[in-house]
Amino acid sequence: MRFLRNAGSLAGRVTGLFSGLCTGIVAGGLLAVPVGPARAAELDDVVARGELVWAADQEGGGPHVFPDPTDARRMTGFEVELATLLAEELGVKPRFQQGQWDRLPLLLGRTADCVINGIELTPERHRDYFCSRPYFGYSLQLLTRRESPIDDFEKLASPGPAGRWRVGVLTGSAAESVMRSRPDLEVDVIGYDGTIDSLEQVSGGVLDAAVMDDCIFTFYADRFSRLKTVGRPFAGGFYTVLTGRDTPRLSAAIDMALGRLIADGRLKSLYDRWDLAGRQQMLMLRDATEIPPARRRSVWELGRDTLPLLLRAAGMTVLLSCLSFPLAVCIGLAVAVGRMYGPPLIRPLLTGYVEVLRGTPLMLQLYAIFFLLPKIGLALPALVAAVVGLALNYSAYEAEIYRAGLKAVPPGQFEASLALGLSKWQALRHVLVPQAVRIVMPPVTSDFIALFKDTSVCSAITVIELTKRYSVLALSTGRIVELAIVTALLYLAMSWPLAMLSRWFEGQLERPAVGGGTREG
C-alpha cells in the first residue's frame, strides 16, 4: 500500500503536468507535499482521530450520494446513511471526502480511510484493495428513448439505421466493462465522467442508449420522462466498501460492522426507507471471497495489452491538436484584424468574444458545446465538439497574440502601403498580416504545445485521448507507475518536435531578413 500511495502521488503529479492547467499543477504540487499522516491510518488512528473519512463522488448522483435538494451544502443518499451507520459502529463520526469517481481508490491511505460509492466488486479491485462483504446488489439496465427502435437487448447485436449503436456508460463502471467485453454487439461504447451525463445525451438524441445500475435510473426516472427501460436487467453484481491493503484491522472492523448491520436488519430498514427493498436479502449468504482476485499481469502482457491502446489514444491527441489549432489561428487572426481595423460597431463585440472565451474555463466551454447545444437541437459528435471547443477557446488567445503582432509592425509600413494606393484590406493582406505572422511565430508555436496538452480536457466530453486512456488503463491494471512513464514518454515524443520547431522559428526571426529593420544602420 505504501507503494500504491506513492504511485498515486506520482500519477497525480504526472497528470497535473499533462493537463498544463494551473489547477493541475497546483493539485500536483499539493499531492507531492505529504499532507496526510505519514502512513495509512489504521483502526487505532481512526478511533484516536474520532473520524472515519469516507470518499465518494457527489457528482455520481442519486440514490448513492448527492447534494440535498433542500440544502445543497448537505450531502444525502443511502450511502451517506450507510457511512454514518458504519462510523457509529466504530464509535467515530463520519466525514465525507469528495473525489472523482473512477479515481476514488487512489485516495485510500492519503485523504480517505475507505471508499463507499457504488464500487462494484470486481476481480481487479479484489486484487488491488481490500473489499468488504457486499452491501448492495445492483443490476445493469439498458435505457433508451421511448420512440427508439431498440425494444430488446438483442437488437444491439445488429446495426441500427445509422450504423453502430452509440451507447453511453459511466467511465470505469461495471457497465462499461460489461459492454466493452461484448464484441458481438454492434455498439460503440462511450464513457462519461458523470452518471447523469449519458441520460442527458440519450434524451438529447446524441446517444442511442445508455447502460447503468438500475437503481440510478429508477431514482432519476421522473426527470427523464422521455426515456424507457428496455427488457429486464441483464447483468449484475455487488457494491463493496473499499479499504487499503495496508490497513487490515480497519478493513476487518468495517467488514464486521457491515455484517452486524446486515444481521440485525438496520441495513434492510435503511433500504426500505430509500425504496430499495429487496437489495439486502441477496447479500445474506455472500462475502467478498466469492469473487476471486484477478491475476497481476506481467510487464510483457501489460505492454501487449496497453501499448496499442495508448498509441491509438496518442493518435487522438495529435488529431485533436492538428484539427483545432489551425482553426484557432484562422479565427484568432480574423478577430484580431477585426478588432483593430474592422467597422467600429463590431469591435466591442469582438472584444467581448475574446474576454468571454479567455475568462471562462475550457472545460466549461466544452461542456456547454457538448451537453447544452443538443438542448437547442444542435447535437455535435464528441470529436467535432472537442475540436470546435478547443478552436474557439484558443482563438481568443491567438487573437491577442496577433493583435500584439499587428501592433508591433512599424506604422510606416501601413502608411507606405496606403501611399502606393493599396486599400486598407490590401495593406493588411499583403503587408501587415505577413509581417505580424512572422513576429508572433514563437508565441504561437508555444501555444500549440499548450493546446496539445490541453486536449486532455476533452475526456470530459467522452473523447478518449492519451491522458484519459492512461488513467483508465492505470486503474484497471493497477500498473500506475509503469504506464505513467510510458505515457509521459509518448507525450514527450510528440511535443519535442514541436519545441524544436518553435526554436527554429525563433532562429529565423533573429536573422536580419525579417522584422522592422527599415532604419538606417
Binding site: P410, G412, Q413, E415, L422, Q426, V431, P434, G517
Partner: protein
Amino acid sequence: MITVSSLTKSRADVRVLEDVSLAGPEGTVTAVVGPSGSGKSTLLRCLNGLETFDSGGISIAGHSLAAGPHPPTRLERLRRDVGMVFQQFNLFAHLSAIDNIALAPRVVLGLSAAEARDRGLDLLDRVGLRSFAAARPATLSGGQQQRVAIARALAMRPRVMLFDEPTSALDPAMAAEVMDVIVELAGAGQTMVVVTHDHAFARRAASRVVELAAGRIARQGPVAEIL
C-alpha cells in the same frame, strides 16, 4: 498639376497650417523648406491624403481633396497618380527589393507577376541597384533602401512624386546617391514636391521654392530669387 488653396489645419488647438496656397505646374520641381516644426511634412502629407485638413482645398494630378475626412476609394484613386517617398524609407521588411517594387503594380494595377517584375527590374536599373533585386531591405544600406523606395513609388508611374525629407536619415555619401536619382528624375520632367532643409539640394533639384514658417508661407517664388 498641383494647386493648394487657403489650406488650414489645426491639431489640438495648435495651428499647423494657416492659409497655405501654392501652385506646382506640370514638369516642375517645388522644394518646400523651412525650420523644423514649420509644417513642411504636414503640408506634403495633406497632398496625398495621409492627413486631413480643416479648410481650403487641394487639386493634384486631376484629383481634388476637400476639407474633412476623405472617402477611401477617392484616396486610392488619387494615390495611384501621386507617389510618395518617406524619410525612413518604409520598405516592406518581409519582401525583397524587387517584390517591394512589384507589389503595388500587381495588387493595385492588376499587372501580371511577370509584367510587374519586368517593370521593377527596369526601375532597379534606373536607380543602379539591379544586382540587389533579391536582397531584403535590412541587408541594404540606407541609401540603397531609399533608392529602392523611389523605384517602388515610380513603379506606379505617378504623375506627381512627393518626397518627405528623403536624405535626412542618410550620411552625406548616401544622401548624394539619392540626390542624384532625384535630380535625374527632375531632368526627365517628373513633377515633384520635395520637402527638405538642405538648401544646396533644393537649388540643385528645384525650380520653385516655398518657404514655410510657423505654418504660414513666408516666401515663395523661383529658386534663384528665394535661395
